[in-house]
């Protein structure tokens, strides 16, 4: 019983991490029409930046915030640098371009930080009954808070309205005087920063290594597809299901088999329910 509860709590952490990453993916896809295959590397960047900042500052939370910011600027900047050049290009070209980004970033991480695991001690000690480590609970709450904040930002603020306007009809928004470029910049930044934050949060749990982005990218992509490409709510539900399913399956089978079972289960959703809502808000 205790074990199952602990795994469920773990599933919540994994699920919210996937959700943070998948949100960034689905935003960039829904609005910039970019299939971002380097999103996992943004996640990795967040973890490494946190580790580097932590070794200088010593405070985990400040380092995590800095890392998310830095990832947002670097990652968002990379996407934005090519957004003008590839305006209206097919998704295939974007996929290939970001795949190239991924290769470069992964290799750079390996050159700079080495292949060994970089770990940071848990910033909060202590346990909560039935939930396991206190840190996991705090991280889950923080991630959910960030998701809610993003939803409110999109729903209520002026910038959120502009972003939704560009998402639903770029030409009409441009005619009405909305700068699409500014919106793109915001979305690219938010997307990469969310991935960076997710990486930062997972650093004390999984530690940082160059290929850490691959696993999360797979999960995030499944979630985005199953949730309906560009659909935020669908992605959220799917990521929680994926996280919980995977953590409980680990109790009975090898982790890699658990990943495959989750992949297959989510693919089954596709079979039952044809393409989700596209970029619908």
């Amino acid at each position: 019983m205790e074990q199952i509860a602990a795994q469920l709590a773990n599933g919540l952490v994994v699920g919210t991490t996937i959700a943070l990453t998948a949100l960034g993916l689905t935003l960039v896809f829904g609005i910039l029409h970019i299939v971002n295959l380097s999103h996992g590397e943004f996640y990795m960047m967040g973890a490494y930046f946190t580790w580097a900042a932590h070794s200088v500052l010593g405070n985990f939370w400040a380092s995590a915030a800095l890392a998310a910011l830095a990832t947002g600027l670097v990652g968002g900047g990379m996407l934005l640098a090519f957004a003008g050049r590839l305006a209206g290009a097919s998704p295939l070209r974007w996929a290939l371009l970001t795949l190239g980004f991924g290769y470069v970033l992964r290799e750079l991480a390996q050159l700079v930080f080495g292949t060994d695991f970089k770990l940071v001690g848990l910033p909060i000690e202590g346990t909560v009954p039935y939930f396991g480590g206190l840190y996991r609970v705090v991280v889950t709450v923080a991630s959910i808070a960030m998701i809610v904040a993003l939803a409110l930002f999109l729903a209520r603020t002026r910038y959120g309205v502009l972003i939704r306007a560009v998402a639903s009809n770029r030409e009409a928004a441009a005619v009405a005087g909305v700068s699409a470029y500014k919106v793109y910049a915001w979305i690219a930044f938010i997307s990469a920063a969310l991935a960076g934050a997710a990486g930062a949060f997972m650093l004390p749990i999984t530690s940082a290594y160059p290929t850490m982005g691959l696993e999360i990218l797979i999960m995030a992509f499944v979630v985005v597809v199953v949730g309906g490409m560009g659909n935020i709510r669908g992605a959220l539900v799917a990521s929680l299901v994926a996280g919980l399913l995977q953590s409980t399956l680990i109790l009975v089978m090898k982790p890699s088999f658990a990943t495959i079972v989750v992949l297959c289960a989510l693919m089954l959703v596709l079979v039952v329910r044809r393409e989700g809502v596209r970029a619908a808000w």
């Binding site: 290769y103 290799e107 050159l111 596709l270 079979v271 044809r274």
Partner: protein
Amino acid sequence: MVRHANRAAIAFASLAAAAVAPLWLPPYFVYLLTELVIWALVAISLDLLIGYSGLPSFGHAVFFGVPAYAFGIAATRSESFAIALASALLAIVAVSVLVGYLATRTGGVGYIVVTLLCSFAFFIGAFAWTALTGGENGLYVPAEMSMASLSAHARYLVVLGIGSLAGGFAWWLTKSPYGLVLLGIKANERRMQAMGYRTQKYKFQITVLAGAIAGIAGVLYALVVRTLSADLVGPELSTEAVIWVLLGGAQTLIGPVLGAALFISLKQILNNIPAYPILLGLLFVAVVVWAPSGLVKLRFPRSRLPRLRATRIDERTQD
């Protein structure tokens, strides 16, 4: 159509040259050429999807690797060559139908993502299911179940023969009315639907067909190279194949073949450089930015005017 006849003559002449020339080459180069023909077949089948149907498959290695594995697994477990071949053929059909169904079900960009995910899933599976696939150690096809008894040149001729048959079929397909429908779907799917074509059906069929051609290449690989590893179904090979097609020039058939040859030779040369993945990544970026329609089209921009117009319409609808 003089140009048409010319092209056929050139094709036959180069095929004859390809068959005869290796007679004077050392066996090692013949072996390399044999492998290259196999990769060329993969590139051609992927071009059918990317170039002629607008279906960017990022999981093409699955179509290639799963039949190869099926052949290898059956060959290590049973004495009969026929059973091994039959299970490989079964795997070709099963995997192309499965992936094709899932990928065409989502439509649009979902195709990229779903094919990529399939590649990941099979990759993890090939690593994890050690009892069946040998896991990290890989799988060795026994010599008596392969083409090991043939001489290098005979092997090359067999592969070239099967390869050019499949390649010829692909070429005939792109010239047929069926191929035109596919091009129409690539340019504007909604209009084709309005004209009464069941585009979903066409997209599924061409995925299965291209998957089958890649599967034939996979079985040839198992017969010739005989060492199977999880990389053969993995995302790395899948994405590399996309690079072959784009580097050479999608929608040309010959372009992807040249792209594969160029890329594989480059890889052999650059493999010893430590920062090789960075170079590879930068190559991806360079291809996307500077040669979006491939190297072949850099050279002959005017010879394919009607097709170029088709791609331009395509780009506009993608916006």
